[in-house]
């Protein structure tokens, strides 16, 4: 908290905070307003006398209804959910074991291996999708959820590995040594002692991985083509923008509904998540 005169508190705390919150929440507000705005208001020119961009007096759920009935939005949500959960599960499992090994076990080239995994994370997806597309075609995985379930881990595993590595390093190694003297094998010490303590870290890696796969765009755009295989970000943008016609109401409704699961996951685990970013383990 800022100490001192009231004006200092306003200038250094309340004002920047308010500006930040407004900037952060405004897109969501815009999404909401556009979703419930009737078409007649949506396409009104900006210089019309009754132009009211920030509110509407005739809210309607027409766009939401259109989105759910006229498009495959439900299917896209389901696809995205399955793909995100599967990719997250695979990446979390691999990241957990790799992170543990890199932070705890001594083996040749452990350090350089860690760095190499990190470097793979730095390769931009916009570059990687070209060779990946070739691989997907060779394995005949194109246009199926597997195309994404198997390619998302290429960036999720390095991410989870590094996050878990950092978290495992913050857990005193004496805990594990003590467990091993107490009669646990390395595997049991890991499962009974280290993993339960690492739950906040595992959760935040999971949330991040889930969000990244939920929002992923390029791979989904390139590897999937039939409308009923698409994910939300690709489905909404490709099916609701036809040529130069933007179905703004449905687009925004899709964006709004599409962000609900992620928001839900965050709010559900927020305490663990914050604990993992700020807290350390005390023995």
């Amino acid at each position: 908290m800022i100490e001192g005169a009231i004006w200092r508190r306003w200038v250094f705390f309340y004002f920047p905070l308010t500006a930040f919150i407004v900037a952060l929440l405004f897109p969501f507000y815009w999404m909401l307003v556009t979703t419930v705005r009737p078409d007649s208001e949506l396409y009104r020119p900006w210089n019309a006398p009754n132009y009211t961009p920030f509110w509407t007096l005739h809210p309607t759920l027409e766009h939401v209804r259109d989105l759910l009935t006229e498009t495959l939005f439900g299917t896209w949500m389901l696809n995205t959910m399955i793909i995100s959960l599967a990719a997250t599960a695979i990446s979390l499992f691999c990241g957990l074991l790799a992170g543990y090994a890199l932070s705890r076990l001594k083996f040749p080239f452990a350090g350089s291996l860690g760095t190499m995994i990190f470097i793979t994370y730095l390769v931009p997806q916009t570059l990687l999708f070209i060779p990946l597309a070739d691989i997907i075609r060779n394995f005949r995985l194109g246009d199926s959820p597997w195309a994404l379930i198997l390619t998302y881990p290429t960036f999720l595993i390095p991410f989870c590995t590094w996050l878990m590595m950092g978290y495992f390093k913050s857990i005193p190694k004496e805990l594990e040594e003590c467990a091993r003297i107490d009669g646990a094998t390395r595997w049991r010490a890991m499962v009974y002692i280290i993993f339960p303590i690492a739950v906040p870290g595992i959760l935040s890696a999971g949330i991040f991985a889930f969000t990244l796969s939920w929002n992923e765009f390029i791979y989904a755009l390139v590897f999937l083509s039939s409308p009923d295989e698409k994910t939300v970000p690709v489905g909404v943008t490709s099916e609701l923008v036809r040529g130069d016609v933007f179905y703004w109401g449905e687009l925004m409704a899709g964006a709004l509904l599409g962000s609900i699961p992620v928001a839900f996951v965050y709010s559900f685990f927020v305490e663990h998540y914050v604990a993992s970013l700020t807290g350390s383990v005390k023995g």
């Binding site: 040594e177 467990a179 005390k282 023995g283």
Partner: protein, 363 residues
Amino acid sequence: MAQVVIRSLNKKFDEVHAVKDVNLDIRDKEFMVFVGPSGCGKTTTLRMVAGLESITSGRILIDDKVINELPPMDRDIAMVFQNYALYPHMSVYDNMAFGLKMRKFDRADIARRVQEAAEILGIQQLLQRKPRQLSGGQRQRVALGRAIVRHPQVFLFDEPLSNLDAKLRVQMRVELKKLHDRLGTTAIYVTHDQVEAMTLGDRVVVMRDGVVQQVGEPLELYNEPANRFVAGFLGSPAMNFATVKVNRDNGAIWAANTGLQIKAPPEYTDRLGRYVGQEVTLGIRPEDLHVASADDPTELGFDVVVEVVEKLGSEILLDVAAGSDTMVASVEPNVRAKIHDHLRLALNPERLHFFDMHSEAAI
């Protein structure tokens, strides 16, 4: 029955030779303390006994059985760590029961043993708490409890008291001693605190740079240190050292430098004889110095200037300058000495120590 035998034990970490050719025989039921400055190899030695560190060469035997290759769980040992290493997600009860559960004891047996250990340590009312709800002293007890429930053959302690405040440390030290007397389990205790080493140990191992300097009972080490390092490490305030030249005069041996001239007692004549004309290190413990009275022979006294007076209540510490040397003398509390006073100090001739200048070994 558990004796621990260490033979030609070595540990090398890449470049560093952390433990060099250590040989030790730790007897059954003995409380053995490893002491030394940080980086002396004492913790590494302990961790090799625990099985947490691989052995570069040499052997470790518990009860005549070589345990070099045994995993920690099969060595029948228990270890208490400096940071307690309590499992933060488990209650005190589960912390103590963990080792028994891993070893597949039945529930009733676990409950009985945990209760028993909790009673010994006075932590029955804490069993349902989580470690974060405990104070430092309570955590320490839980860590001890976790070690004693298993009735292991050997206890290993890695500086278990160094995270406690001074008062609690003294209290826990006494309790540890009592606990050891009660359980009679062989114990190896690592510390950098010489007071803990002296008070707890049946025998003490002093280590420096990976090498064992001396092994013996606490008073033996204190009274007859094998070398200058042991002499300086044990005792607080530390032993005073002065470089002196050995001379022979009328058959008597004198040790002298610019500030003092002392006639060595007859029993030193033989031992110091071969150093005549050479320099040696003279060691005097602060409590072996006193303010000279008329009864003290002049050849055992020397003049000093008081530089600092530290009144501790039960004694007074005088930091004095004797020629170019500075010394600390622990004198009676009734001595009235002020800073810049000129005093004559006398020393106790039976308790002089001489060390070789090069090898630093006791003469």
